[in-house]
């Protein structure tokens, strides 16, 4: 009896050494790894994003027969938003099939860890709308692509919006702005910019951390009730968002004066708070919820064939759309790379070239069926962000309503910060930055 058990342990330990033995893949398939979290504290937000990605890849295979005939082989790996698990997923999947052309960590913590590995493995890290803000500087971070917007952009856009509501940046003087943030690199990212802006405009900035996973915020909101700030910025994720909104309602802080980052502005964030969420604002990573041209194709080629990753009702939610956009940018970068390197599975280096030359004009966006979801984007060696525009949306109790015009983060403020931070990073890591002016 005891022997059987021992044998079992032995087998278990031995087998774990065999993890690398994955199935061999077909020749002309583009392998793409997916680091997702469908379990754990952040699953409510992770799931729709992952569904959007999966559905879009599926669409490409179903509708186009792949990218220029190169079929996509997509494999998910569960990270549970944990850095070490994420890194393990990455290591496990990066060499699979044709090799990973890039990786989307979907977690700032994992992004930080993978940034260290990217130059060694020569696999680009795409952190669309998250990650390390200074990593937009392609000269120091040639392998990192925080497409569509960094947290500094997000914070800047929100500050601009508040200033506009107050009647100008100078009106911010003396105002109290509190940042309630997830106590992790993700939540800490905007602090640098907000500190900078506070210095520039003379508002009082107070960051208040919330411990992972963010269900316990009583003390934080008690403090807010006592200090009566003018605005509260929310840098939360997953259950922390809805908890914050509920707590705000509980302490009577006006939701209209709350602004969430674009990761705090999806349906799962507001629905649990029910009426309490009414009036709550959030930045948009360009897009919002809703169904657009692309969704017709998704319905026709994916859901009607019964291959959808979720229920049709949930298609078009904020995070679903974001996942879809993420997948689209991935695919388009590969498509651009294929133009240079041929219609075959791309390697990381080739994909990096594609990403660095990723340009989508308004026509391209329309052709792809993403009109109304994103605006044109142009990535370059010096600018790995591509575009830094955003709007503000507000929850009306039933759905998200766009309530502002487009803002663009102020590069006069951002750029020096990016350069300084990148320089410090380069020094710490003893990296010699490349000269972007010499790259085409």
């Amino acid at each position: 009896m005891r022997w059987g058990k021992l044998a079992f342990v032995g087998a278990a330990l031995a087998a774990s050494g065999l993890t690398f033995a994955g199935p061999a893949s077909a020749q002309n398939e583009q392998f793409i790894p997916g680091l997702v979290y469908r379990t754990g504290a952040y699953a409510p937000n992770g799931i729709p994003w992952a569904n959007g990605v999966a559905d879009y890849y599926n669409l490409i295979n179903e509708r186009d027969g792949g990218i220029n005939g190169v079929k996509i082989l997509y494999e998910e790996c569960e990270t549970a938003y944990a850095t070490d698990r994420g890194v393990e997923c990455y290591e496990r999947l990066k060499g699979k099939g044709s090799g990973a052309p890039f990786v989307n960590p979907l977690s700032t913590g994992i992004t930080f860890a993978l940034i260290e590995k990217a130059p060694v493995d020569k696999i680009p890290v795409i952190s669309m709308g998250y990650g390390r803000s200074e990593s937009r500087d392609g000269s120091v971070f040639p392998w990192v692509f925080p497409l569509l917007g960094t947290y500094w952009s997000a914070a800047d856009i929100i500050v601009q919006h508040i200033a506009k509501k107050e009647g100008g940046l100078d009106k911010l003087k003396g105002k109290k702005i509190v940042l309630v943030y997830h106590d992790s690199p993700y939540g800490k990212e905007p602090i640098a910019l907000l500190t900078e802006r506070a210095k520039m405009h003379g508002f009082e900035f107070t960051p208040l951390p919330v411990t992972h996973p963010g269900v316990e915020q009583k003390a934080t909101w008690l403090q807010i009730r006592q200090s009566r700030p003018d605005y509260v910025l929310l840098w939360g994720w997953g259950v922390m968002n809805s908890t914050a909104i509920k707590e705000a309602a509980a302490v009577g802080f006006p939701r209209e004066k709350m602004y969430g980052v674009w990761w705090s502005g999806a349906e799962p964030d507001v629905r649990p708070a029910e009426d309490g969420a009414k009036g709550y604002n959030a930045a948009m990573l360009q897009h919002g919820a809703g169904k657009f041209a692309i969704h017709d194709d998704i319905k026709k080629f994916v859901y009607d064939k019964g291959k959808g990753a979720t229920k049709w009702d949930e298609v078009g939610e904020v995070l679903y759309n974001r996942g879809m956009i993420n997948a689209m940018l991935n695919i388009e970068a590969l498509r651009i790379a294929q133009k240079k390197f041929g219609n075959k599975p791309m390697t990381g280096e080739q994909a990096r070239w594609g990403l660095e030359n990723l340009t989508l004009t308004a026509e391209d966006v329309k052709r792809l069926g993403f009109e109304g979801l994103i605006r044109p984007i142009k990535v370059s060696c010096a600018d790995h962000e591509g575009t830094r525009a955003g709007r503000i949306q507000q929850w009306d109790g039933k759905e998200w309503k766009v309530v502002s015009d487009w803002y663009e983060s102020d590069d006069k403020v951002l750029k020096p910060m990016v350069e300084a931070a990148a320089k410090k990073y380069a020094e710490e890591k003893k990296i010699t930055p490349r000269d972007c002016s010499k790259e085409n």
Partner: protein, 361 residues
């Protein structure tokens, strides 16, 4: 069965007290260590991709956590002082090492850096070990838990420690040992392996000698220990110091050689629990158990996660994850029921059976 001990007689106390008095064990361990050093090198040449995954995701975490578990085992298993502050002490090691590496470029050799990390952790360990004179058991566990939170808080709040990094995350690069650059996974693995082998030997030496006996005496019956002349505070603090040193070195290695860039979250309370589980499942008061426990806690989830893939089952990632958690949990409970003294005891029984083979008793 494999043990042929006839003719292995001891003519001196040194031979009798050897770590592996049985020739077969000695050969096995030596072979294992040699294999641990050489096989990966061969593998890295033959199958680089596979080797890299093996290094970075299997072997490095396994070794680093083994070392941390050895450290915690010294405190919990040998000296009987419960600690939930392992994550915090790892953080001390990692951040102390980081700051030395960052600020004193003259001594940025990893060995010195790790030693410094360990020593700082030991100092902090002594500090938090002070209450152990008065409080015991659960109460001490709570006190060390406070240490964990306090240390977590310090590294998250004292900006100087993270070199004013905007995200609170720090990164290291261009690492060297004795002037040799440590830039490949294999190099990192070999450095860790060497450190772990040396420190494990040291740990074994400590626990089998006079100091180890003083710890175990305190663990088993502190009153009797005092009556035969042990000084409880000194003994306990030494255990805290040595334990924290190990944990600190493990923390530094985890940061430097496993993560490369890390945030305070890497050393949170979950880390403390995970390492405590390793010690419990591996076997309290067993160096070997620390390794078995680390292997179990590090490898089993990875294995379970990939099991459906090997079996050719297509399941959703979420389902796999849920299954993984369930099975892993069941396995832990199962092992603790089958053998409350941990995997090391299972191993010992297996060994005893092999020695008695073919007889049952």
């Amino acid at each position: 069965m494999l043990y042929r001990e006839a003719g292995q007689f001891k003519t001196s106390y040194s031979a009798d007290q050897a770590i592996f008095p049985i020739l077969q064990d000695r050969l096995f361990v030596i072979a294992l260590i040699v294999l641990a050093f050489l096989a990966p090198v061969a593998l890295a040449a033959a199958a680089p991709g596979l080797a890299q995954y093996l290094f970075t995701e299997i072997l490095i975490p396994f070794l680093v956590f083994s070392l941390a578990a050895v450290g915690l085992n010294i405190l919990v298993g040998y000296c009987g002082q419960v600690s939930l502050g392992t994550g915090g002490f790892m953080a001390v090691g990692a951040y102390a090492a980081y700051n030395l590496w960052l600020r004193v470029p003259l001594v940025n050799d990893l060995i010195i850096v790790f030693l410094f990390g360990g020593l700082m952790a030991a100092a902090v360990g002594i500090l938090f070990g002070l209450p152990s004179l008065r409080i015991k058991g659960f109460y001490l566990a709570v006190a060390t838990l406070a240490a964990q939170f306090f240390l977590d808080w310090i590294v998250a709040r004292v900006k100087w420690l993270t070199n004013y990094s905007s995200s609170g995350s720090v990164a290291v690069g261009n690492l060297t040992v004795l002037g040799i650059p440590i830039d490949t996974p294999m190099a990192r693995y070999l450095v860790i392996l060497a450190v772990v082998v040396v420190l494990t030997l040291v740990a074994k030496n400590l626990v089998r000698g006079h100091i180890g006996r003083s710890w175990m005496a305190i663990r088993d019956m502190d009153i009797a220990a005092e009556i035969i002349g042990f000084r409880p505070l000194r003994t306990k603090l030494l255990a805290f110091a040595v334990s924290s040193f190990y944990v600190g070195v493990a923390g530094a290695m985890y940061g430097f050689l496993r993560l490369g860039a890390w945030e305070p979250l890497a050393f949170d309370i979950n880390r403390s629990f995970a390492i405590l589980f390793m010690v419990i499942i591996g076997g309290l008061g067993s160096i070997l158990g620390s390794f078995l426990g680390a292997a179990f806690i590090v490898l089993t989830p990875i294995m379970l996660n990939q099991l459906p893939g090997w079996l050719g089952l297509h399941m959703s990632t979420a389902l796999i994850s849920h299954l993984e958690f369930m099975i892993f949990g069941v396995m832990i409970v199962f092992f603790l029921i089958v053998e409350p003294h941990g995997l090391a005891r299972l191993w010992a029984i297996a060994k005893e059976k092999l020695r008695l083979w073919p007889f049952p008793h």
